[in-house]
Point group: C2
Chain length 321, copies 2
């Protein structure tokens, strides 16, 4: 089957928006939505780096989509469309069919559709580059730079689960129950970014926000830098799943490991204390956990505290090189 | 130098639009432009497939940009922004500095700026994925599907130069003067899509248009299919450069080779005969060549004719798999 056959059979059914022109033209288009800005995020994932070559194709598809949706969620944007660039080392139609099924499931879950893309052969590892598009009310994109002294610092979900899952795949010893093991490996394969919370509520409560992908401490560092403030982070407040606590324990070192590992695809944000009740309501409605983890102070950088005392924490995250 | 240092030193200076947020946030944004649709095209190029690993970094950058600008030109869109995803097998700052210099030159030439992107390491070949954004008056994107029986078929520029350049790199024998050789290899390394003609004039004259990247005959086949018409293509009318004619000669086989090779990044379009004068004027103002190469008829597919008689031409183009 040639490229055009692949597009017609597998990808065209995902392209439901009129602007995608059924993937039959040179380009797609998006009509202007008066009163809204278009928010754009792009991220690539590759076999051996971000997933295992033998991961189920449907979970690979979902990870590729969701690492981008977490960026849109962190900016308060409602996702709408995505472009897909695939570099395939070989063309196995069975793999492609399962991959496309995974895309279709996430299209339904998040209300998005395929706008276009490009498929090519590569001699390198399988690589997937997605560009996601969403809308926010004009001028209201939540930036990294708006945190104010006195704000509370929050994070969605739990931190370190994906790193725990990766450690299990890398054969780190554990005595977890099967359900705990599967929970952690599942979070490595399929992140759960707070898409609806981000799209519906973040813009009404947050002063600043960042996608947690390089590691919680590192990403809060980016937010602190952009906002020209200091963030004081209470290490024991960092939310961890029961499964991760059963795996790594509750020691400060284990928490720091979780907070520097990256690959979480949650969001960290700041908001004035008076927004607390609204944030609780919004999290409940979205069915997600949101946890207070620190405070915004005068100064710079991230200070991690344990029982009120600063720790000499490594301010590090995932390094791409 | 880590990823953040690379972004700050090399890429941030290219991000001149406010919506790029100096590449310091999780996402970029584009404000709505009332009365205009946003046109989006994405294409990836890879070492060994689309360029040589030892090609000058600045020409690699320009090829990556221009294979996308040709899509926007074919849709009648004025280019504005691009996203850049780079997968690098190794990080040599000297290479990156030259690559970024090439991007900067094309930003100035075409009036575009960097909106965002992603840089990662790969064990595979160097790969560059660009997504380009442009604007067209709302509802006026030139599609593949509007050709009408009786329209004239045109193509911009000359066809086959890039394929000639590639043949020279692959050591096909020739007796060309140095300037002719350099012209052809230059067109392989740096395409010359008719960006300003497309953005300023195409939408006012064309009924349908397609980017010529898979091969002139194949791409006209896509246009014929989408428009549900037949295209009659006069093989001797297909424009070739003096250098290519000196290399491959003027025989029908040489012309068909040029017309099936791909990698041209010109545009082929249809327009009613009464637009002829306006097309000539627009081409002159843009400083490009536009050539009449055929007619739109009732029927389907592409028929290549030689001295009025149909040839049994292979309807083929570049196959990605």
């Amino acid at each position: 089957m040639d490229e055009f056959g692949i597009i017609a059979r597998y990808f065209a059914p995902l392209a439901k928006d009129a602007g995608a022109l059924k993937l039959k033209d040179d380009a797609a288009f998006i009509s202007p939505r008066p009163g809204f800005d278009l928010v754009i995020s792009t991220d690539q994932i590759a076999a051996d780096t971000d997933f295992f070559p033998h991961d189920p194709p449907a979970t690979v598809a979902k990870k590729a989509v969701r690492v981008n949706l977490s960026d849109l969620a962190a900016k308060g944007a409602m996702p709408e469309y995505y472009l897909l660039n695939l570099a395939l080392p070989s063309l196995r139609e069975e793999w492609l069919a399962d991959f496309v099924a995974g895309l279709g499931e996430d299209q339904r879950e998040f209300g998005i559709s395929l706008l276009g893309g490009d498929t090519s052969a590569t001699e390198g590892p399988l690589s997937i580059s997605i560009t996601a598009f969403g809308f926010v009310p004009q001028g209201k994109m939540v930036r990294r730079s708006g945190a104010k002294v006195g704000d509370t610092v929050y994070v969605s979900g739990t931190i370190g689960d994906s790193a725990g899952g990766l450690a299990i795949f890398k054969r780190e010893k554990h005595q977890l129950a099967d359900t705990q093991r599967d929970y952690l490996t599942g979070r490595y394969q399929v992140p759960e970014p707070p898409v609806m919370f981000g799209a519906r509520s973040l813009g009404r409560v947050a002063t600043a926000s960042v996608d947690v992908s390089d590691g919680l401490i590192a990403d809060l560092g980016h937010l602190a830098d952009a906002s020209k403030v200091k963030i004081e982070l209470d290490v024991e407040a960092i939310p961890r799943s029961e499964a991760l606590r059963a795996f790594w324990g509750d020691g400060v070192d284990a928490i720091l490991r979780a907070a520097t590992a990256g690959d979480d695809y949650q969001i960290a944000f700041t908001a004035p204390p008076e927004q607390e009740a609204k944030i609780r309501d919004a999290a409940d409605r979205a069915g997600i956990q949101v946890t207070r983890i620190g405070l915004v102070r005068v100064g710079e950088g991230v200070v991690v505290t344990h029982e009120g005392q600063p720790l000499a924490a490594p301010r590090q995250g995932y390094q791409h090189f």
